[in-house]
């Protein structure tokens, strides 16, 4: 849940990158980390296994500067994508203000995407939320792969994006679409905060 302080005029929001294993969640944060000036970001923390798979989460704090007179910070997290880490996914999702669902565009990964999306909905419902009330954006990653291996954004929208939420194609390794996705989720999170604004 976002932290808003009217005295010091500070806002801190939590955005979680969710999706199946190896879909590009950590790569997206690594791209952001690499592009953002050092004085506008904190250290990137990655709790990973020996084989570089996310074990618990990646964490990257970003300082967006002043927005409407509020010093605004975003804390970006990823969840571990592998199926058997569901309990840790739930923990990372707690207190989230927005979710980026990073889908793997490969045809053979469609079932994993659907399973992960179902898990997300179940975990949000357990937190008293759901995909309709939580600010959310889809990031269709690996769109740079040969067309015969991947589903198009339209096909992925048909398969995953039941509520016609914003979706962006990406190639997280090269950073294509990562910025646009972050901008889209940021807008949605701040708009919701502006409408509800628990202090």
């Amino acid at each position: 849940m976002s932290l808003v302080n009217f005295t010091t005029r500070e806002i801190t929001c939590k955005i979680v990158y969710y999706g199946p294993g190896r879909s590009g969640k950590t790569a997206s944060l690594q791209y952001v980390y690499g592009r953002v000036p050092q004085d506008r970001r904190g250290r990137m923390v990655s709790l990973a296994t020996e084989t570089e798979r996310t074990l618990f989460f990646d964490f990257l704090p970003l300082d967006l500067g002043s927005i409407s007179g509020f010093t605004t910070r975003f804390h970006l997290y990823t969840v571990p994508g592998q199926l058997y880490y569901d309990s840790t996914r739930k923990l990372v999702l707690q207190g989230a203000d927005g979710v980026v669902f990073v889908a793997d565009s490969q045809v053979r990964q469609l079932d994993e995407n659907i399973e992960s999306l179902q898990g997300l909905q179940a975990n949000l419902v357990a937190m008293g939320s759901d995909m309709r009330s939580m600010p959310m954006v889809f990031q269709y990653n690996k769109q740079d792969l040969p067309s015969e291996l991947i589903l198009t954004p339209t096909e992925l929208d048909d398969a995953l994006n039941f509520w016609a939420l914003a979706s962006h194609s990406s190639d997280a390794l090269r950073g294509v679409g990562v910025f646009e996705t972050l901008r889209a989720i940021s807008e949605r999170v701040l708009r919701k905060l502006s409408e509800e604004a628990p202090a």
Binding site: M1, L3, V4, N5, F6, T7, T8, E10, I11, T12, K14, R35, V36, P37, R40, G42, R43, V45, L47, F56, F57, F59, P61, L62, L64, G65, S66, I67, S68, F70, T72, H75, Y77, S87, T88, K90, L91, V92, Q94, G95, A96, F179, L182, R183, S186, E187, L190, R191, L193, S194, E195, E196, A197, P198, A199
Partner: protein
């Protein structure tokens, strides 16, 4: 020199007293999601935001293990290292649930930290105001400032 950074002003007095009496090097008061409300102590050697995120994760995962074991939760946790120890404790105040991450050195002990932690909890509970009513936060045209800010972050 000890430094403080307080986002929620009501936390300052109980926190300052706790750090002085317990001999803690650094104490962070934060939400269960790891958002820091206040910090007090020697913070230069520690990346505060990373420590808060990791502390919140440790507490959340330990609480989940407690739940699996049929415990309500572990109310406090501590780890003792060679030069430093860390102590994590949770409490409920009128504004919701809070966590404290305490880093202490050889000039203190887990017993001392635990002793004054109970006092810190009482102080926070007494000082915490009720939840404020909702009110609008951002100007209607915040998107332009957000876009400018993100564009400058990404060098566009």
């Amino acid at each position: 020199m000890r430094r403080s950074r307080v986002i929620e002003a009501w936390t300052y007095e109980p926190l300052e007293r706790f750090v002085r009496e317990s001999g803690a090097r650094l104490t962070l008061v934060m939400t269960p999601a790891g958002q820091v409300l206040a910090q007090f102590g020697f913070a230069r050697a520690v990346d505060v935001m990373a420590a808060a995120a990791l502390g919140a994760a440790v507490f959340a995962s330990s609480s989940e293990i407690a739940r699996l074991l049929g415990n309500l939760e572990f109310s406090t946790l501590h780890h003792r290292g060679h030069r430093f120890g860390i102590f994590l404790g949770g409490c409920a105040v009128p504004r919701g649930r809070l966590l404290a991450l305490v880093i202490y050195g050889e000039d203190s002990s887990v017993g001392l930290v635990q002793l004054f932690f109970d006092e810190l909890v009482r102080g926070l509970q007494e000082a915490a105001p009720e939840q404020e009513r909702s009110r609008p936060v951002l100007a209607a045209d915040f998107e332009r400032e957000l876009n400018d800010s993100l564009a400058s972050l990404f060098g566009r």
